[in-house]
Amino acid sequence: MASSNSLMDSLFQRSLEDLIKGLRLGESTFISRSLEEIRREIKLTDLSTKSVALQKLSYLAALHGVDMTWAAFHAVEVVSSSRFAHKRIGYHAIAQSFSDQTPVMLLITNQLRKDLNSSNEHEVSLALECLARIGTDDLARDLTSEVFTLLGSSKALVRKKAIGVVLRVFDKYPDAVKVCFKRLVENLESSDPQLLSAVVGVFCELTAKDPRSYLPLAPEFYKILVDSRNNWVLIKVLKIFAKLASIEPRLAKKVADPVCEHMRKQNVGKSLLFECIRTVFSSLSNQEVALKLAVVKIREFLMDDDPNLKYLGLHALSIVAPKHLWAVLENKEAVVKAMSDEDPNVKLEALHLLMAMVNEDNVTEISRILMNYALKSDPLFCNEIIGSILVACSRDSYEIIVDFDWYVSLLGEMARVPHCQRGKEIEHQLIDIGTRVKDAKLELVRVSRALLIDPALLGNQFLHPILSAAAWASGEYVEFSKSPYEIAEALLQPRTCLLPDSIRAIYIYSAFKVLVFSLGAYFSSQEPTSSPLAQESTSSGPSMVNGFTYNSISSLVNMIELGLCSLSGTIDVEVQERAKNVLGFIGMIKHEIAEKATSQNSETEAHRAIAFMEDVFSEELGPVSSTAQEKVPLPEGLDLNENLEGLQEICREVLEPMAESDYSSDKVSFSVAKLRIRDQEEASSSLPPPLESSSLLAEHRKRHGLYYLSSQKSDDHNDRDGNDNNTSNEYPPANEISVDSFKPKKKISKPRPVVVKLDEGDEPKRKPDASSSNDESLSRAIQTALMGKGKGKEKEKEKERVKENHEMNVDTENIEQSSRREKKNKKNGERSGKRSSRRQRGKEASVTKPVEVPDLLL
């Protein structure tokens, strides 16, 4: 019978302890058996049995990954019990398993309200803890008044927890500010350090997101900074001031003194000391006295044996490095020593600091030292080193490099480091330098040659991108080469089969350029070739090859032909096509090479063909700005949006959403390859037959061929493969070159070569962070609350405290205006937990009319 079964279950229910003991003996089957038991037990009406079952379930969920969301309703039942033990279990389960998606969430509102209003402070605590963890928008809104009441509770414990909850409530339901903010601020004056810690913690979070709104509270925070003896409180207050001082410089001056006081204390806790130093370095670095003191103190950290302190010392230095490099230079030895530390974290910090010290004069020396480290290090650190060198040297269009010959050869050297995995970046820089620095082409070709002829490198897949760049450079700048034959031979060596097809295609194309160049030189040489002209030249000008003999040119042509013949049957279309193109070209002019030896007729077909090809390759390829696409003017009468909407209509079933591609949303790009792949996928699913879509596609392509890119390659290859057949003859050229002239430095013997830079810079525009409407409404609400508070408090303060200059002249208009302006130029410095936002914090857009700072701080 059902009832006797439930009685049995109740009497013989396994306790939590039994469960745990059982688990220790044997797991997965035991878990599934226990789950069955729990499912039965939890449905019983007896609350004690139910809560034990719930407790066991919570345990399994927390530590053994069992899903407990199905028990949500039972948790609600348990929590309604009047027994504290049950309530505790119930709330714990709720806090652990409820989320915004839990359907029964609505049911607990009343229970929470009841418990929040309870006279038993422990029940109140439970409810507050639960609310803090799972509060939804609705809960936050519905329970705001309860939280408000509790903020003024006579029991410190309750107040403290209510304060902890407030942050969550504010986040979910900003209007709560109007109700609660006053009380929150009142609590700032509490003498209970734990209470204070909680309040300051809340403000720490709030200030991090929106410092300007809390500027009017600076006097309160200042008082805490000066009076408090509790490290936790002080650390949080310092964080608040770090944010406030960076937007209000006058604060920095005022706050510097108390911070120094703390730093000078005899037995100051290391955590507090570090926070002081960090605050000084990040926000008060223009305060000389504080800065100097902080640097002295950080030295103590650097010299300490405790690895934690050493690491933190280095870390702090990297904060101050950008503005005050002298602090780092003073501690150079410690930094270099740290490079050999065993802890990878410490090494990394040291590396960053070393890179901060790099400048024009010492870049060669430091790079030399670092490359030596790299060779001796594990792969991870080795690549970190190479990566940082690459970044530092290429910053601002290689601003730091004076001797490009040295740098190019360094890039080649990097390729030879066994652990090197930075192929892509090196590839990019080799080509980039080729297009920007005319004078470096010679060295570039030299380094490329060395890389190309080495068969061992072909086996290392990490080096393939570099080889690709080397091949491209060798072809593009073949006129600087000492021995085109050698280059062509290297490009077509059998081991190139190890390369991926896309790079092989580049190799072939470069060989073609070499061929064209050589043929051009051969056909244009006027003297009869009686003696074999030197293929090697001693001059270092652009035209290295004085001429080809009949023998040398024909052996070149034959070699190329032989090398490509085997490729004309490869599966990859790109390789096959290029091989065949070159072979076709050779076929066309081959017979006339011999004729040239005998006749001087320069009007042959071959001659014309070669001259034509030379022309094709003669245009100088330059760097392309990332904003070039946007600058392409729209032709008259072209209405992009309208046309593309129609396109989307047609292709909706075929095309994947644009957002998934990694092209910037500024460009409208279309990948035919993607469409084809999608077609194949559709073929095996139940969606409309692919035949229909692809024929629609073909039709559309005929009509709107202009919008289709001809190449399947991604956009960042366009620089290199600029000679790809671009069908868009209608559009004006995308290349934009503006030349920066550069004055040579006084001491250097060889003047720095010209580096081509582009007007708008080459970094892709960073998109500003999307501002959430919640943030805005919160800060608006707070500002409103502070305005009202300011006016009321004025009278109170004049009555109660007689302190000099304690007027709060909060200007209503200013706040409103500045908040409106904030919405227009929303700053990027919001805390998003990502590293990049840290760098942007220093550059907050300053509003022209700042919020008035209380006179205390002036």
């Binding site: 530590l63 909850v165 979070e205 991090a208 934690n308 802890d343 974290n345 590293r835």
Partner: protein, 147 residues
């Protein structure tokens, strides 16, 4: 959520990677939790005792310390004060020690609800709310009476 909580989660794991305590202050799917626990364990278990007690973890930081066979790991924001949180961990261990007299892993296994209770007095919604050992101990004894 837009909140950047101070503490995102706390983990107690043994050397083999078994989780003895897991409290998350951010919403995470079960599978995500598994991944996190696995990754954190891998991060801390191989580090030499001479190394720092802080490691980067995804876009945050993990501050950890080993006590006997257990790793106590706190995940915090990148900008948080590492030393303060080390003290926080130590405080937690001291309190556990007080309640379980020379606490060992088994104590934590069999008293997991009590450990959670202590933790909830310590940290609320990812923020440190009580730093006085005495206060927490007093509070716990009050709670005991209620059960």
């Amino acid at each position: 959520s837009n909140l950047s909580l101070q503490i995102r989660f706390i983990l107690l794991q043994n050397r083999q990677g078994k989780t003895r305590l897991a409290k998350y202050y951010v919403p995470l799917e079960e599978s995500e939790k598994h991944k996190v626990e696995y990754e954190v364990h891998r991060l801390v278990v191989n580090r030499d005792s001479k190394f720092t007690n802080f490691v980067e973890f995804r876009t945050h930081k993990v501050i950890y310390r080993r006590y006997a066979g257990l790793f106590f790991s706190l995940c915090v924001d990148i900008t948080d004060n590492e030393l303060a949180y080390l003290e926080c961990i130590h405080l937690f261990v001291e309190i556990l020690d007080h309640f379980f007299s020379n606490v060992c892993e088994l104590d934590l296994v069999f008293n997991f609800h009590k450990v959670y209770l202590i933790l909830d007095e310590f940290i609320l919604a990812g923020e440190l709310q009580e730093t006085s050992k005495r206060a927490i101990i007093e509070r716990m004894s009050e709670l005991e009476k209620l059960e």
